[in-house]
Symmetry: C2
């Protein structure tokens, strides 16, 4: 059971989490719970760090920000004791989460779960501080964004858990963001591959990395609400489920677009543009190169808006080197992505997607596809219109059962 920051935001919510854990124990389960830091406490620690230094030493930053999850676990253990059950809180190190030495975004290299096994065998509920481990150099490390999800999945693998439950502030994975699409529907199940595409395209429910680990190790995930007892969304192997044509829509308005004009159309030029960007840590996503005219071409690509200043700095030099005729940045773009495992067998989906955007008068600037995803870059001002129109066009609001189908997970287009 993994509980995120909003689920443990204050002592009242922590008590509710303690009750839920105890209730699972009372049903005879052996429970290991991974907790995040309370609410904004990690951000508060980060602010302190930046008061001390403009570039805090990464090792010390990890020592600092790893305390929030320990506080949550110790407090939850106290509440569980108060409910009459024995609990033990463990730091990442005590739980046996061994990582490499990359402070701030360490990778788990081993899980030595001896102490967890001993505690479970002694009848204890085990609480593990998420987001952290101990490096092979015996220093405290943190796992980066979504680290607690990764801790939970890694422990589920090491312990051979039946399921890894991710408790969060939403009811599960939806066909689209319910704040944008009123009729968005909770999905009963999605495949690992679909969830990967959804996470990569802006869905905040689960971090990409945790989904990747769950897929490679075949751990069943159950994303569900901390605040209700309702079933959420299962994330599992494709073979385990009926295939939906379309599962859902993800969107992301934190992208920016860069265009480099008049680049000589010669072999090796693209590498000379994108290698220095990669070296500077800029995460380029969609790339499109125009048809050449007069031996020159325009290259456009998208990147996270946060990386834009770095990219502009790098390209100021690179542009001259490759002899381009200028560049332009554009932060007012957004990406809408349609994801569905069944898409690969239905070529009409791509055409339908373009149709509906055209009907709504929305211009498509860049297109990228995978076998189970279509993404279109559009003006960010039209993003919500686009999400609603696509959601409606593919009939995602309607339950598959209402449409008379046997599978509860498929969502066929209505035509």
């Amino acid at each position: 059971m993994k509980f995120g920051g909003t689920s443990v935001a204050d002592t009242e919510r922590l008590k509710a989490v303690a009750k839920r854990i105890v209730s699972a124990r009372e049903q005879g389960e052996r429970v290991v719970a991974v907790l995040s830091a309370m609410g904004d406490s990690t951000d508060d620690l980060l602010s302190l760090a930046y008061e001390m230094s403009p570039r805090p030493e990464p090792r010390e930053l990890d020592m600092l920000i790893s305390v929030g999850e320990r506080i949550s676990c110790a407090l939850a253990a106290m509440a569980i004791h108060d409910l009459g059950y024995k609990a033990i809180s463990l730091t990442g190190s005590q739980a046996g989460i061994v990582t490499d030495t990359t402070h701030g975004k360490a990778k788990i290299v081993d899980v030595r779960a001896t102490r967890i096994h001993e505690a479970l065998d002694a009848g204890l509920i085990v609480l593990v501080a998420g987001f952290q481990g101990v490096s092979t150099d015996f220093d405290i490390t943190t796992l980066g964004r979504g680290g607690s999800d990764t801790t939970a999945v890694a422990l589920a693998v090491a312990l051979g858990a039946e399921v890894c439950e991710i408790y969060t502030d939403v009811d599960g994975v939806f066909t689209a963001d319910p704040r944008v699409v009123h009729g968005a529907r909770k999905l009963h199940a999605v495949s690992y591959e679909e969830m990967l595409e959804l996470s990569a395209c802006g869905s905040k429910v689960l971090m990409l990395r945790a989904v990747e680990l769950a897929r490679s190790q075949c751990v069943r995930l159950h994303v569900r609400s901390s605040f209700s007892g309702d079933e959420g969304t299962w994330i599992e192997r494709e073979e385990a489920m009926e295939q939906a044509i379309i599962s859902g829509i993800a969107h992301d308005s934190s992208e920016a677009k860069v265009t480099i004009f008049g680049v000589p159309d010669r072999p090796g030029v693209a590498a000379r543009v994108f290698r220095p960007l990669a070296d500077a840590g800029v995460r380029v996503d969609m790339i499109v190169q125009n048809v050449s005219s007069d031996g020159r071409t325009d290259i456009s690509f998208t990147l996270p808006e946060d990386d834009l200043p770095t990219a502009e700095r790098v390209l100021a030099t690179v542009g001259d080197e490759v002899g381009s005729q200028g560049m332009k940045s554009d932060p007012d773009v957004a990406r809408i992505s349609l994801v569905g495992a069944g898409m690969k067998s239905d070529p009409a989906v791509v055409a339908d997607m373009f149709d509906v955007l055209a009907d709504a008068g929305i211009n498509i600037e860049i297109i990228s596809t995978s076998s189970i995803r279509i993404s279109c870059l559009i003006r960010s001002a039209r993003l919500e219109d686009a999400v609603r129109a696509v959601h409606d066009r593919f009939g995602l609001s309607e339950s598959p059962l209402e449409k008379g189908e046997s599978s509860v997970t498929s969502a066929l287009p209505p035509d």
Copy 2:
């Protein structure tokens, strides 16, 4: 170098601490610094714990409240890096502070300083989280009140340090509390034995336990201000210094007095009263038994006011068992103590002390003495008058040098 909670109260003060540590390093010292938690942060964590449970599990409480010192150390390390020096923060566990398993007041059983030695040899400044260790069961423990002082002294012993500097919010050890006595004078040096008596009698500068450890291991302590570069007070072996007749006055208004009336004057009765109190954890200090009349006597004793409810509960039963004729509690008492290593060779001091209190019209309710201390229990309303009168009578405001003596540490009575 040990820095207490007020010395690291906020990020500005932490930066000042970082500068002071770096300045010692620049003078060629190999520095190990022990830091306390920032300001009230430990109290804030305790409040959270009591929101979770009226009686928080001790193991979990230690997991929780040990984070404050880690935060201080990590932040200070960042600031030191920013000043161009390399620093490493270590938890109690990483620093090799091994304790027994008594959560909340663990005793240090070993210091395995390998990692500190390695860091010092590599030219690093070492920051150690005070107040904590790791138990022989691999759980995080805390050392109880004054724990960071104890950490500092234990590390000074293990590392063979030249001196253990205790940085605090006062300039050193004074002849009396400067808030009470305007002319109180900072002492250049006091012996371990004197400091033990001063700490036991209410001086807040150093915790008794750290002084005991320093004495038994012969570690020189230097109590000095975090906010100035001035020399403070040295605490060292008596042989190392000229002996003062009187070093200073300590006072404590947190005491209470209990009197049990009409106790049968028979062997074994005192044990039947005080054994159950000791078993209940009541810390009895001064005890006086009146002269017997009619085979019965009255017993009075002092105890910390906090222990009064427990004592009253225990004595309600015990009083009946021993056949006493009633009891009375009195919280409005205070203790004034005069401490000086030279006192043992000067019987006039005791008489002088009684004289000055009598002249001030202050009644003495209980007296207790050691070879280097006289304590008198008086009404708490008269405490400040008593401290000022005794300070004045023994001429403690005047510097020994002004009085034409060779030792800067002695403070002879003026007559």
